[in-house]
């Protein structure tokens, strides 16, 4: 059973109330399955990720071991024991002109 480390940055840290945690994910585990576990533990995450994770990519970025899942296999990216998922909300820059 893969152990996955998850980090929540910036506003997601506020939303979840913690910076980091570890989850167990049934093998074979994908990013989608890991997110299903996380959203069941922290329902508030769905407000940030979307009911069907539709905000991922445009708003929240998901990294697996430092690589954006857009460059991997998106939500179908396979996870292995010790992998690190990072969830990063967007930072825009300032006032929209």
């Amino acid at each position: 059973m893969p152990g996955i480390r998850v980090r929540y940055l910036a506003t997601l840290y506020d939303a979840v109330g913690r910076f980091e945690e570890e989850i167990d994910c049934s093998d074979p585990c994908t990013v989608r399955e890991a997110l299903n576990i996380l959203t069941s533990m922290h329902p508030v995450l769905k407000e940030h990720l979307g009911e069907n994770y539709e905000f991922i990519g445009e708003d929240v970025q998901v990294l697996v071991n430092g690589r954006n899942i857009e460059f991997l296999n998106n939500l179908s990216t396979r996870l292995k024991d010790g992998d690190v998922i990072v969830l990063i909300p967007p930072a825009a820059g300032g006032l929209l002109s």
Binding site: L9, A92, G93, L96
Partner: protein, 237 residues
């Protein structure tokens, strides 16, 4: 290096070396965006001795800028930011050659003419639409870019060198600008992100540290900086 130049930079030369200082003096940097981030970054780069600065922004100074944009004051209201910024930075360091361009970064902007081929570009923009256009240009032309963005008590900084496979889409491949309301911020908080962006640029230009591909996510609310080593997402030549 003259005595005056050496004296002027005498507090930083022990950290970046004489060779590093010479590199700064010989460098050309383009700062895109002269808001909370850009006004501070351009100031720090001039103070550090960057030889040539090009300042780009299409906005005029507004009252809502004055809680964080240190280059401007009440007398600047209504005036083009690049004009005021250039004047102020020339006062800070008369040895830095400063020019400016009053323009916004859009699909129609002639970036070859506006930016050219500097040693480094600073992304101090306020929206992802312009950021993507800028990032595409620097990526195509193999120009290193220091990206920073701020949102409330949070911010991020990263050096993206296309020569090492890093471009803006490595961090946000599909992000577009959707926000229609002003982003809240406190000037002192924006200053932390801007300082880190300027420091990243100075380290790179002086040759002392190259932090390409390391994303720093700054959480001022919890006083935490997270360092994420990203993988390159572009093939290098």
């Amino acid at each position: 290096m003259t005595w005056e130049t050496h004296e002027r930079y005498s507090r930083q030369i022990p950290l970046i070396g004489e060779e590093g200082q010479r590199r700064l003096l010989d460098s050309r940097v383009v700062v895109v965006g002269l808001g909370g981030l850009g006004s501070l970054v351009s100031t720090y780069l001039a103070l550090a001795g960057v030889g040539k600065l090009t300042l780009i922004d299409g906005d005029r100074v507004e009252w809502s800028n004055l809680n964080r944009q240190l280059l401007y004051d009440e007398a600047s209201i209504g005036l083009p930011k690049p004009v005021i910024a250039t004047r102020r930075i020339r006062q800070y360091n008369t040895h830095t050659e400063v020019d400016y361009n009053i323009t916004r970064i859009t699909e129609n902007t002639d970036l070859e003419k506006t930016i050219g081929k500097p040693d480094l570009v600073i992304d101090a923009l306020d929206n992802w639409t312009s950021r993507k256009i800028l990032g595409k240009y620097t990526c195509k032309n193999n120009i290193p870019l220091v990206h920073a963005a701020v949102d409330g008590f949070y911010g991020q900084v990263i050096l993206l060198d296309p020569n090492k496979g890093y471009c803006i889409d490595c961090i946000a491949p599909r992000t577009e600008h959707k926000r229609k309301t002003p982003i809240p911020n406190v000037g002192a908080g924006v200053g932390v992100i801007a300082s880190l962006e300027a420091l990243t640029a100075i380290e790179y230009l002086s040759g002392i540290t190259d932090r390409t591909g390391t994303l720093y996510v700054i959480d001022l609310k919890h006083r935490q900086i997270t360092e994420l080593k990203l993988k390159p997402c572009h093939k290098t030549l």
